[in-house]
């Protein structure tokens, strides 16, 4: 029989890993309220903190087999589970927001302008060779968009074009330029 007096959180988790619900209930009563407090401190609203704390407790049950008392204390392992539950929630929210912004705000905000001037041999010839592939109209939107760094909506206004026309011109310009870039392969 277990000597309950000597049970530590670590031995309790080992028992949880073997499917012991009594041990789980004791871990729950020791940590559920603390995990909720931690989530509240991270800025989770009360209802979300309650839900997430319950999710974290379920995760403790499911992942208990991966707990290794020689590598970490129980409190450390439970902290990592609670933190990951929080990160996952933020990620889910961000992913949803990202998709929402694509649907609603659409390409207004999709200015594709990453950075980094890691370009080697950026020469006048290369620029003009690339640009010469484009029609006058395409060059105009490309210059405004990528050189002057104007949002699509502003380009549309300046050129008195529908937004959709600006976007399709840019898209066609990029397709033409593809051939140019591919030659570097």
């Amino acid at each position: 029989m277990h000597d309950r007096v000597e049970d530590t959180d670590e031995t309790l988790l080992a028992r949880v890993a073997r499917g012991d619900r009594d041990a789980f209930a004791r871990i729950f009563s020791a940590y559920a309220g603390k995990v909720k407090g931690y989530l509240l401190r991270l800025g989770a609203p009360a209802a979300a903190a309650e839900d997430l704390a319950q999710d974290a407790m379920v995760a403790i049950w499911r992942r208990a087999a991966s707990f290794d008392a020689t590598k970490a204390k129980a409190s450390t392992w439970i902290f990592v589970i609670a933190r990951n539950a929080w990160i996952d929630k933020l990620r889910r929210e961000k992913t949803e927001l990202a998709y929402r912004s694509i649907v609603i705000v659409t390409e207004e905000s999709d200015d594709e302008s990453p950075d980094d001037a890691t370009m080697r041999g950026e020469t006048e010839e290369q620029v003009s060779a690339a640009m010469s592939l484009l029609s006058e109209e395409q060059q105009q939107v490309v210059r405004l968009s990528f050189f002057e760094d104007r949002p699509h909506s502003e380009i549309a206004e300046r050129l008195s074009l529908p937004l959709g026309t600006v976007k399709s011109r840019l898209r066609l310009a990029l397709i033409k330029l593809r051939a140019h870039w591919e030659q570097y392969k």
Binding site: R21, F24, A25, F28, Y31, A32, G33, K34, V35, K36, G37, Y38, L40, A49, E50, A53, M57, V58, W61, R62, A72, K73, A74, S75, T76, W77, I78, F79, V80, A82, R83, W86, I87, L90, R91, K94, L97, Y99, S101, D111, E112, S113, P114, D115, D116, A117, T118, M119, R120, E122, V127, A130, M131, F146, F147, L174, L177, W181, E182, Y184
Partner: protein, 204 residues
């Protein structure tokens, strides 16, 4: 060889707290995975966080929380698939695009981090990149090969963080292409028309 350039403790504690922007967390993770020194520090910060968790007062939880949770334990657990591939192989990469002779870039899909630009950049041996300035924060972990700039030699596993005031000109060292994982913040200013077109084309 173990990495020589490490993230600051601020970065590591942010990583442990889950407070780094996701794209930046990914670049930090690329370093931590290959750096025993930083793994030990992360372990120490996690242990400190665990102790802090243990010391927190118990928040009131709903009366039926335990029975709710117990009821969920019977649901069949989703199998946990452990992915044993290396960090780089697990990256959800967009197709590789060539920007110039010996230079390619591949964006990393991070739908959860729409404000971060995360990408792999490879520059062939002997390659010289344009001198450039940073207009925002940037994290970089070297995955293979090496480069040198004003701050020193950066080889596989090394981590570099740039703030807005860094102006540097990295030069690839050795016989091997230098492949780096970058995360950059928001919109940065490329050096010119060709740079913008190239990166728009590369969709990173």
């Amino acid at each position: 060889m173990s990495p020589q350039h490490h993230p600051s403790d601020d970065v590591l504690t942010g990583y442990v707290a889950g407070a780094l922007e996701p794209g930046f967390g990914l670049v930090a993770a690329a370093h931590i995975e290959v750096c025993a020194h930083c793994r030990a520090r992360v372990g120490a910060f996690e242990a400190a966080s665990g102790a802090a968790l243990e010391a927190l007062p118990q928040e009131t939880i709903s009366r039926d929380a335990l029975s709710n949770v117990l009821a969920r334990l019977d649901a069949p657990a989703q199998p946990i698939n452990v992915d044993y591939r290396s960090f780089v192989e697990r990256l959800p990469l967009k197709p590789k695009k060539w920007l110039a002779p010996g230079v390619w870039v591949a964006g990393v899909n991070t739908p959860h981090a729409p404000q971060n630009r995360v990408y792999l950049l490879s520059v062939a041996a002997g390659g010289l990149t344009a001198r450039h300035e940073h207009s925002g924060a940037e994290f970089c972990t070297v995955l293979s090969g090496a480069y040198r700039d004003e701050l020193g030699l950066f080889a596989a596993g090394d981590f570099a963080a740039a703030e807005g005031d860094l102006n540097h000109q990295p030069v690839v060292q050795g016989d091997e292409a230098c492949v780096c994982l970058f995360a950059t913040e928001g919109r940065l200013k490329p050096q010119g028309l060709l740079g913008r077109l190239a990166f728009a084309y590369a969709d990173v």
